[in-house]
């Protein structure tokens, strides 16, 4: 008997007839040729979340993003008109990387009036226009207006900056669709105390999304992080989502969160009892507008014990809104078929007191302990998948988002290869 009601079809997965119940073929996570197709079909054709507006506070604020998956680098910059724009990080003169320091492969951020190339001092305005050419008279009929920085499509949704390498993508709000709409109005902009973690992980990018798109693993892999009696109970019960939703190619899972605060203090570790915080964050919500009532897309089952909603926006962006009023993002940037750069940020309403700061610290430290367990498990998975001794794996109803992710990926690749073949 499920603890939380499932759809009339008997399972969440069967509620979406387009989702197959067959075992999932994980060749898509080890096949180098498939990875090459993903780069073209997915990462050059979808909206990619690259940062927050708070990272570009002033005119001239900029940061760069290295997109190994597309063999390119992009500059995000706030112009004199306050607009945020994106450009390929390439000087139009002879292709030198325009913005970098010390190490060409590393991302940088800062504030500037114009961008000047280190090589021959070609200079660009914040809106991309080419402003200055060294020894311009030496060139042959050079039309400066034709040599501005090459723009990248850039749109902002709820303070999240997205880019698309597709020169004419559908509008971002259409791409994010109903799943995005349901989150609009959440006070993301109030949560400006940020912890950002980064690691290179030896696993296919989809395997880490898999790990964070299901909580079926939580009572087992992370068992020791709960106090003994609680861990035994959680493992015996297992995990059931409160609610699932698919708005292809995006998806979400809504989860119970009985530990924030716990029913009984003996259910949590000593440090959590004193600080009144844990994995789910502080036990009390910050005093800001926008958390009560929540936007319609959060806690869709309206469960009183709701703890967190985890949204996967295809292809590589996850957004988690926690009941105690903070949010978390995950980004997965492929660097090879079996490697990716994982980035995660925790966002809180800025702490006013040491007590609040320590609550955030405990949430962040706890997140890292969990993340390290997850990340190393993925390397183990990648290694064992690589030999392709076994390729197909049965996924349960609580792993619906994984089916949706791998299926959406295959659909994008198929559409691309069909189009390429047909065209």
């Amino acid at each position: 008997m499920p603890h939380f009601p499932k759809p009339a079809e008997g399972s969440w997965t069967e509620h979406w007839p387009e989702i197959s119940l067959a075992p999932v073929d994980y060749s898509d996570s080890v096949d180098p040729a498939y990875y090459e197709l993903e780069r073209e079909a997915i990462f050059k054709r979808t909206w990619l979340m690259v940062g927050r507006v708070e990272q570009l506070p002033r005119v001239g604020s900029y940061f760069t993003r290295e997109l190994h998956v597309a063999d390119t680098s992009v500059i995000l910059v706030r112009g004199r008109d306050k607009e945020i724009r994106a450009f390929y990080n390439i000087c139009r003169h002879r292709g030198n990387k325009l913005v970098w320091s010390d190490y060409p492969a590393e991302e940088v951020s800062g504030t500037c009036r114009t961008f000047t190339c280190k090589y021959h001092a070609w200079r660009y305005e914040l809106d991309g226009r080419l402003a200055f050419v060294q020894q311009e008279g030496e060139f042959f009929g050079l039309d400066k207006s034709a040599y501005g920085l090459r723009p990248v499509c850039c749109e902002v949704w709820q303070g999240f900056i997205f880019i698309s390498l597709d020169p004419s993508p559908a509008p971002l709000v259409d791409y994010l669709g109903e799943m995005g709409k349901g989150l609009e109005g959440y006070p993301f902009g109030e949560m400006t105390e940020v912890f950002t973690y980064k690691a290179e992980v030896g696993a296919n990018w989809k395997l880490f999304i898999d790990a964070f798109a299901e909580f079926y693993h939580a009572p087992i892999l992370h068992m020791k992080q709960a106090v003994k009696d609680e861990a035994d109970k959680l493992a015996a019960i297992g995990f059931e989502g409160l609610h699932y939703d698919l708005k292809y190619p995006h998806s979400m899972v809504s989860s119970w969160g009985g530990m924030s605060p716990p029913r009984d203090l003996s259910m949590v570790k000593p440090i959590e009892r004193v600080l009144r915080a844990g994995l789910f964050g502080p036990w009390q919500r910050p005093d800001i507008a926008g958390l009560d009532p929540l936007p319609a897309g959060l806690n869709p089952s309206r469960h009183p014990k709701w703890g967190v909603d985890s949204f996967h926006f295809f292809p590589n962006f996850m957004l988690l809104c926690w009941a105690p009023g903070w949010y978390l993002t995950y980004s997965y940037w492929p660097t090879a078929v079996d490697r990716h750069i994982f980035e995660s940020s925790l966002y809180f309403v800025p702490a006013r007191t040491a007590a609040e700061r320590l609550q955030h610290e405990l949430a962040a430290v706890t997140f890292k302990e969990y993340g390290l367990q997850d990340a190393n498990t993925l390397e183990a998975t990648q290694r064992s998948l690589k030999g392709r001794v076994i390729t197909d794996f049965p996924l349960c109803d609580q792993e619906l988002l994984l089916r949706a992710l791998h299926q959406a990926g295959r659909d994008y690749v198929r559409e691309y290869t069909d189009g390429t073949v047909a065209g």
């Binding site: 950002t196 690691a199 570790k269 702490a351 040491a354 007590a355 700061r357 390290l372 390397e379």
Partner: protein, 109 residues
């Protein structure tokens, strides 16, 4: 010279845990034997609630005097050390191997 407020002088022997960044705190955690971490935890944990109430007089929005700031940094180390002591009984996360997760942006106070 004392690093901590006089009220927390008993924690001075552990002032090597007053570290500015998470990276330094994490490195120290990995490099410290369990008995030393246990000793730090046993001394600092019983003072945690008192430290948070004491620090209520020093809101984070404005500059905090050195000793009070150090006390907060010490308690941040305590939060980190709580995992080896309360959970793992070893400095590193079990089965985490060579995996790392670097804190590249840390909130200032």
């Amino acid at each position: 010279m004392a690093l901590l407020p006089a009220e927390f002088a008993d924690l001075e022997p552990f002032s090597d845990w007053v570290l500015e960044t998470e990276r330094e705190r994490y490195a120290k955690r990995l490099a410290t034997p369990m008995d030393q971490m246990q000793a730090f935890y046993d001394a600092a944990f019983p003072r945690l609630a008192e430290a948070t109430s004491y620090l209520e007089d020093y809101p984070l929005g404005r500059p905090i005097p050195g000793p009070q700031r150090n006390l907060l940094l010490l308690m941040m180390s305590l939060v980190l050390v709580s995992f080896p002591v309360e959970v793992w009984q070893q400095p590193c996360v079990p089965d985490s191997g060579a995996t790392y997760l670097d804190l590249v942006v840390e909130p200032a106070f």
